[in-house]
């Protein structure tokens, strides 16, 4: 177990290191003066003194006159101090502040949709594997769902439930007329805005998990331990339970592997619903060429995915006894 965890942590540390390095490397490898390039396209701060102020600030931050290793070290130092630079688009708000405001919305949207879709998809998949009729219906539907681009389902839901039926708002996290307070009106309004983006993420992921579980269960029911139990006259109930317990393990690993796709899906879903998470921020940053904000989003996404991966690893250790016993059951 210790070996398993150590290896995982090593991989994640390396990944983070690599990601930060990429983040540092890219602006420095672009042709020309990165600061001039960047400021040339800043659309917000228009007067000359503001531009000059920004230029000085970034020149200090980039430290282009220093040797490369010094620049690199400084970059890490700033990172550990939580200094991700200052947003040019929301000047002079520090990037870290902008991101801190967005992250709760991401958590609010992503955590329930990921967990519920995983849970419901696995259970439905297991049921589908049992009934031919349900299988013939759920399987094709699930394939269509996994083939649907996230933003398109979001657009369709927003259009149909938001515009045609007028049941849900289609923009923002809460009504403009309200101020964030812990009142019932506000919480209900928050949930009202949350529902459609949540549903579109939930529905697509649900399809993927249902297919995965169905295929895994069918595979496990054919496995030799299932056949042995059948030969010994064990009831279907016990055999199915064992198959499910075994099939859930690759689904947990699968969650870690799919996380990147789900996060990408959440980004575009936020764009569709103007939901003020990192995805929405990112679009604004890209449109306003705010590189520090883009970098910050990048780091936050990577960090979030790494933390989630680590949590999944911990869960895996709890669920798969083989990792606990020092037998490497899983090689990811």
């Amino acid at each position: 177990m210790r070996r398993y965890l150590t290896r995982k942590i090593l991989i994640y540390t390396l990944t983070f290191f690599l990601a930060v390095t990429i983040d540092w490397l890219i602006p420095r490898f672009m042709p020309g003066d990165p600061i001039r390039n960047m400021l040339a396209r800043v659309s917000v701060a228009s007067n000359a003194s503001a531009i000059q102020m920004m230029y000085d600030y970034y020149a200090r931050l980039f430290g282009l006159d220093l040797p490369l290793w010094q620049q690199y070290l400084n970059f890490w130092k700033a990172l550990f101090q939580g200094n991700l630079g200052i947003s040019t688009y929301l000047f002079p708000t520090p990037v870290i502040e902008v991101l801190k405001r967005a992250v709760p919305y991401d958590a609010f949207l992503l955590i329930p949709s990921i967990l519920l879709a995983w849970y419901a998809g696995n259970n439905f998949g297991a049921i589908a594997a049992r009934s031919k009729r349900l299988d013939n219906f759920i399987l094709p539907l699930s394939y269509v769902l996994t083939a649907t681009p996230y933003m398109w389902l979001g657009i369709l839901l927003a259009w149909f439930f938001g515009i045609v039926l007028g049941l849900f708002p289609i923009a923002g996290a809460y009504s403009f007329s309200l101020r964030p307070t812990w009142s019932w009106t506000f919480v209900l309004d928050l949930l009202h805005h949350w529902f459609l983006p949540f549903a579109s993420l939930f529905i697509i992921d649900f399809g993927g998990w249902a297919i995965g579980m169905r295929n895994m269960i069918i595979y496990e029911l054919e496995a030799e331990y299932s056949r042995y139990l059948t030969a010994l006259g064990a009831p279907q109930r016990l055999i199915r339970r064992y198959a499910f317990n075994n099939a859930i393990l690759p689904q947990i690993t699968g969650l870690a592997l799919r996380l990147g796709v789900i996060v990408a899906g959440a980004l575009v879903t936020e764009v569709v619903f103007s939901y003020p998470g990192i995805g929405y921020l990112l679009l604004a940053a890209i449109q306003n060429q705010d590189y520090f904000l883009i970098q910050g989003c990048f780091l936050f996404i990577i960090l979030g995915v790494l933390i989630a991966n680590f949590v999944i690893d911990l869960v895996y250790i709890v669920v798969d006894p083989r990792t606990r016993r020092g037998m490497v059951g899983e090689s990811a």
């Binding site: 991989i11 994640y12 390396l14 990944t15 690599l18 990601a19 990429i22 983040d23 890219i26 602006p27 672009m30 394939y143 269509v144 996994t146 083939a147 649907t148 681009p149 996230y150 933003m151 398109w152 389902l153 657009i155 369709l156 927003a158 259009w159 938001g162 515009i163 045609v164 289609i170 870690a256 592997l257 996380l259 990147g260 796709v261 996060v263 990408a264 899906g265 980004l267 575009v268 764009v271 569709v272 995805g279 990112l282 679009l283 890209i286 449109q287 590189y291 883009i294 970098q295 989003c297 990048f298 996404i301 990577i302 995915v305 790494l306 991966n309 990811a332």
Partner: protein, 283 residues
């Protein structure tokens, strides 16, 4: 029955494969000849009245700015297929190189490549594409294919590595090794042909994955600059109020096409799996 005939026999009777390839062919044809039938260029302000629903003049209607949706659609479709083919192809190729090298060579090379694969696997592809794309002011479709191909390979490499591992110890590979064949040749002549069906499946999934990734990139505005794509159509539709204005003809076709194409690819994948894998077939 000879083996090849047998595969063909089951292929022609597999509904999933036939329906899937049928849908792909229809869209491929549309992407191929569609642009020739489009009366306007994708970005031309064709309709002076702005947005209009589908009509005989504008088959798929016009956008908020009066651009011809049909023209954008067929040109975007073309871009979609190019991304799938090149991006998915490159992803498969890189996956093959790394998978074969790690699986056949084993040892320290395998350890290193495996660690590398795991790292790339954990980093969300999109995040990397994002940071690269954001710094490039001019982006072409080919560049997009390149980025996608170079970030999408890890799972393919993993799968191919595992397959190679199991083939490596077979008699015919041993024989080739004993006869002094070079490793590269062994992989090309003995191992790759024996997992051809598997590689085809990997390519199909990479193809579909590349299309979805490209749609995401295009949608958040990091796709090719100055070129139309299905993802970009959806972005414009969302940003310019197609939803509140009820302009369904603007956002339905691009998403529907992507869903149909990727869904058809998945269907082909399942069908081919049944054909190649007799265990799934003889039920």
């Amino acid at each position: 029955m000879k083996k090849r005939n047998e595969v063909l026999y089951f292929a022609l009777r597999n509904k999933k494969l036939l329906i899937g390839s049928g849908i792909i062919l229809i869209f491929l044809l549309l992407a191929w000849v569609g642009p020739a039938f489009a009366k306007y260029k994708p970005f031309d302000y064709a309709n002076p009245l702005g947005a209009e629903p589908p009509s005989t003049e504008y088959w798929f209607g016009t956008t908020f700015f009066g651009q011809d949706v049909f023209s954008q659609f067929v040109n975007g479709l073309r871009a979609t297929f190019i991304v799938g083919l090149l991006g998915g192809g490159l992803g498969t190729l890189v996956g093959m190189i790394i998978g074969f090298a790690a699986g056949y060579r084993g040892g320290i090379l395998d350890e290193i490549l495996n660690a590398f694969t795991n790292i790339v696997l954990v980093i969300p592809t999109l995040a990397v594409l994002l940071i690269i794309a954001a710094y490039l002011q001019v982006r072409s479709l080919l560049m997009e294919c390149l980025f996608i191909g170079l970030t999408a390979w890890p799972w393919a490499a993993r799968a191919i590595r595992a397959q190679t591992f199991s083939l490596r110890t077979r008699d015919f590979v041993d024989l080739a090794r004993l006869s002094g064949m070079k490793p590269y040749k062994i992989v090309r002549r003995e191992i790759a042909p024996n997992m051809m069906s598997y590689l085809v499946l990997v390519f199909i999934l990479q193809f579909g994955g590349a299309i979805l990734t490209a749609a995401t990139l295009d949608f958040i505005g990091l796709g090719p600059t100055n070129a139309i794509s299905l993802g970009l159509m959806m972005q414009y539709a969302v940003l310019w109020g197609a939803l509140p204005l009820g302009m369904w003809w603007w956002f339905v076709p691009p998403g529907l096409a992507i869903t149909a194409i990727v869904g058809a690819l998945y269907s082909m994948n399942v069908g081919l799996d049944e054909i190649f894998n007799p265990k799934l077939r003889e039920m």
